[in-house]
């Protein structure tokens, strides 16, 4: 049995919602033993849909299942002094502690880095928060739409004369979680090679502002020209952007240097000699895209999105179909590569979810367990990991600490 990449790494996870749990999900996916600590009322994500059969139930949230697969789960009431003492005890013996608390809450719980470091100098403390641990916005609240508005390129997403539009789903929060996982893995490497821990401050706003989406490039463009970017009509370059086809839409990148390939693909090679299209300058004119569409769209209407995807790839032009989720799940490439994982969940039955984000040759990804029920591993964690006697566990239960 090959070992996993984060073999032997222990993680205490105090996070809720999306960003923090996605970080620890990734650590758990690659072999860390992640103990998710929930308040007795449960992670807020247990109340977030989608739910199985649209029936809201704390053990039937598909989002919670996705975010917490491969973790163990325990409950602990940090509002009690005993709860806080137990947390300190845990932080002494693990490699990583991840939380998504505001600085004031961290202080109230007694888990500031300066304190924890004294107990455990190799501890990696990963703080994930809307705006970071310092600065004027440090105590503010956020939401997916706020993350993208403040840090991301939302101002330039959408069309002119309409409101800016957010991205779909919760991709910004997932991205903050992925960054936190990368930062944590780098700090674990430092702990291994230099012998000290670290405190990582992952701000969702900053992650967006530093991301290699268009944001950083646009910002540099603004610095270079003193002009801010605007929303623009999609596909304003001829042959670039989403276009209709027989059964939906396809996105073929046939603009700029690839324009000649696109003209050949649609059987209109003579357009390359047409003064309207025969140079980069000509193809930069306003309205040129619509002129070309008169040739291009009738051609695409002869193909389904899958066919248009395949034909454009035969011509070596970057492209992708605009799939809905039924298309994504039915796609033969994803199926053949084993992207989807089927698991059995005690409350939800057989569930299909995404598996590995990437494949590591020597240290494979493994699905070891489904998401924990609330407090499912209390006995394992308190008796096994912390060495409490069964009687003490019962006492904690009676006192409402777990």
């Amino acid at each position: 049995m090959p070992s996993s990449a984060l073999d032997g790494v222990t993680v205490i996870d105090l996070t809720q919602g999306i960003a923090g749990p996605y970080c620890t999900r990734l650590l758990a996916d690659y072999g860390a033993d992640v103990v998710k600590i929930e308040p007795p009322c449960g992670d807020a994500a247990r109340g977030m849909g989608p739910f199985l059969h649209d029936d809201p139930h704390p053990e039937r949230s598909g989002l919670f299942l996705h975010l917490n697969t491969n973790k163990r789960g325990a409950t602990l009431d940090l509002r009690t002094a005993t709860g806080r003492r137990i947390l300190r005890e845990m932080a002494r013996q693990v490699d990583v502690l991840v939380h998504d608390l505001a600085p004031a809450e961290t202080a109230a719980l007694g888990i500031e880095y300066a304190t924890l470091r004294q107990d455990n100098p190799r501890l990696v403390l990963t703080s994930i928060s809307p705006f970071g641990q310092t600065g004027p916005y440090r105590d503010w609240q956020t939401a997916e739409i706020v993350v993208y508005a403040m840090g991301g390129p939302m101002f330039a997403t959408g069309v002119p004369d309409r409101e800016p539009v957010k991205l779909g789903g919760n991709v910004g929060q997932h991205h903050a979680g992925a960054c936190a996982a990368a930062a944590t893995a780098i700090a674990l490497w430092t702990a291994d090679t230099q012998g000290h821990g670290d405190h990582l401050d992952v701000s969702m706003m900053r992650v967006q502002a530093a991301s290699q989406d268009r944001r950083t490039t646009m910002f540099i463009g603004y610095q270079y020209t003193n002009e801010t970017n605007q929303r623009r009509w999609a596909g304003s370059a001829p042959g670039g952007g989403v276009r209709p086809c027989a059964d939906g839409y396809v996105n073929i990148n046939g603009s700029a240097a690839r324009f000649p390939m696109l003209a050949r693909m649609i059987g209109q090679e003579e357009l390359l000699h047409d003064p309207r299209f025969n140079s980069e300058m000509a193809r930069s004119r306003p309205g040129v895209s619509e002129e070309f569409d008169a040739y291009y769209i009738p051609y695409l209407m002869g193909f389904t999105k899958r066919e248009a995807f395949a034909v454009s790839q035969e011509h070596r032009i970057p492209s992708g179909p605009v799939y809905d989720m039924a298309d994504v799940l039915a796609d033969p490439h994803f199926q053949e590569r084993g992207v989807w994982q089927r698991t059995r969940h005690p409350q939800m039955g057989e569930v299909t979810q995404t598996g590995r984000p990437f494949l590591m040759g020597e240290t494979p990804w493994a699905l070891r367990r489904t998401a924990p029920a609330l407090g499912e591993h209390n006995a394992q964690v308190y008796c096994g990991m912390l060495g409490y006697a069964p009687l003490e566990l019962a006492q904690l239960r009676i006192a409402g600490v777990i």
Partner: protein, 438 residues
């Protein structure tokens, strides 16, 4: 000049060889370079990799200003003598790296590459698989030269399956992953969806995560490995909400615009001035009461259409008009600060200038001023996160084509001066593209 740092960085002493293009791969190696690795970009003076240092080498002086495309905004709209050292996309990830040129299509070039691999810890590439395989620079070949090599391959669709050699940028594979379909305006079709590159951002970060773990494994076992990161697959888990709704309930999401499956109000609202907007999201009754309080408990506060979260969700059209009546008389930044002070999730939709001026991100010292020999002095976005025990900053500006040829060939590989001169004469070693490159 590199800034001296007091504490060692995590990847000090780790060498990374980088044949990456566009965004996803370069973003990954940027993160490795940011945290201390010596990243050497391997580039060619004979072929221009598309969309990395530009669309083309020869850029007509007029096109950038005519096109006003965010990726073409050269300093002062001027492509300059070396546009490839001034291209905003490259400038966004080229920092902290070194650069050399070699022609991998020649025997001498491939030999140089193997010599480099022998002194390399991590090799990263994100090309179409057949491109790399044709050059015989596969893991099986390279591990003979460097047995404990870590090789990260990050093509669009992976190293197997029907789409193995398919080409996609982030914006196209985002469509294959099902994101494009759900992110537009609810009342417009998919042709209104502009280009978004979230898949690149996601792949870059995951690549760095994977490399850090592989280094840890090598440190413990002495073994390297190949990592296969299919960019489209890496992006799928980000779309858990619509995926799970489909697999559990067979519901196919359509675009929601700025609306939310269960929160209301939830949207961006027009503020005073042109193109000024504030985003507001209300998740529960307590936040709803906070919003009403912030708005001065308006006459419609007790309207039965807004009494429960479900009622608010059903009556969003009316609700949005009432909220916008309030925001449209206010400055966007002021509305954000006022609403946040009242416990409402709110954010100013910041354009480039707003972000540049934002007091919070500047308090954290996010932007850094860099002087680049071909691009001048400007402010650049900085590190993605900070580490208390590891103070860090951008140390060198975006690398110019072939900037470190002498270091790589003469110092690192010990190539004889005569051979170096000869290969410089032939144009393989250089700081400019060959004249025939368009």
């Amino acid at each position: 000049m590199p800034l001296p740092l007091a504490t060692p960085l995590p990847f000090d002493g780790i060498r990374v060889l980088d044949i990456t293009n566009v965004w996803a791969g370069p973003h990954c190696t940027m993160l490795l370079a940011d945290w201390g690795a010596e990243v050497i970009r391997v580039e060619s003076t004979q072929v221009m990799a598309p969309n990395t240092r530009g669309h083309m080498v020869k850029v007509a002086k007029e096109t950038p200003r005519l096109r006003k495309n965010w990726q073409m905004e050269y300093p002062d709209w001027d492509p300059g003598e070396r546009p490839y050292n001034r291209y905003p996309i490259f400038q966004s990830h080229g920092r902290n790296k070194k650069g050399m040129t070699v022609d991998l299509r020649t025997e001498a070039g491939l030999r140089t590459f193997h010599q480099l691999i022998a002194v390399t810890d991590v090799f990263v590439e994100n090309n179409v698989p057949q491109t790399i395989e044709k050059l015989h620079i596969t893991y099986e070949e390279l591990r003979r030269v460097r047995p404990d090599l870590i090789m990260l391959r990050m093509p669009a669709y992976g190293l197997s399956g029907p789409y193995k050699d398919y080409r996609s940028f982030g914006m196209q594979l985002e469509g294959t992953a099902g994101h494009t379909h759900i992110r537009g305006y609810a009342d417009m079709d998919a042709t209104s969806c502009d280009d978004v590159y979230m898949g690149d951002a996601a792949a870059g970060v995951s690549g760095a995560f994977a490399v850090a773990m592989a280094l840890r494994h090598r440190h413990r076992t002495g073994k390297g490995q190949q990592i296969e990161l299919a960019q489209v697959e890496n992006f799928l888990p980000y779309l858990a909400d619509p995926i799970m709704d489909y697999t559990m309930n067979r519901r196919v999401w359509s675009p929601l615009g700025n609306r939310h499956p269960w929160m209301a109000p939830h949207g961006v609202y027009r503020c005073r001035g042109e193109e000024r907007w504030v985003a507001i999201a209300v998740a529960n009754d307590a936040e709803w009461r906070a919003l009403l309080h912030a708005l001065g408990d308006p006459p419609w506060a007790g309207d039965s259409r807004f009494a429960t979260s479900l009622a608010r969700w059903r009556n969003q059209d009316v609700l949005d008009l009432l909220i916008e009546a309030w925001t449209s008389e206010r400055d966007a930044g002021e509305a954000m600060r006022y609403l946040q002070a009242h416990g409402v999730r709110a954010g100013h939709v910041m354009d480039d200038r707003d972000l540049d001026d934002d007091p919070h991100i500047n308090a954290a010292g996010f932007f850094q001023q860099l002087t680049h020999a071909d691009a001048g002095t400007h402010r650049y976005p900085g590190l993605m996160w900070t580490a208390a025990e590891t103070p860090n900053a951008i140390r060198t500006p975006p690398v110019r084509l072939g900037e470190h040829n002498a270091y790589v060939y003469l110092d690192l590989l010990g190539v004889a001066q005569a051979e170096y001169n000869e290969r410089t004469q032939s144009g393989e070693i250089g700081e400019a593209y060959a004249l025939h490159v368009p």
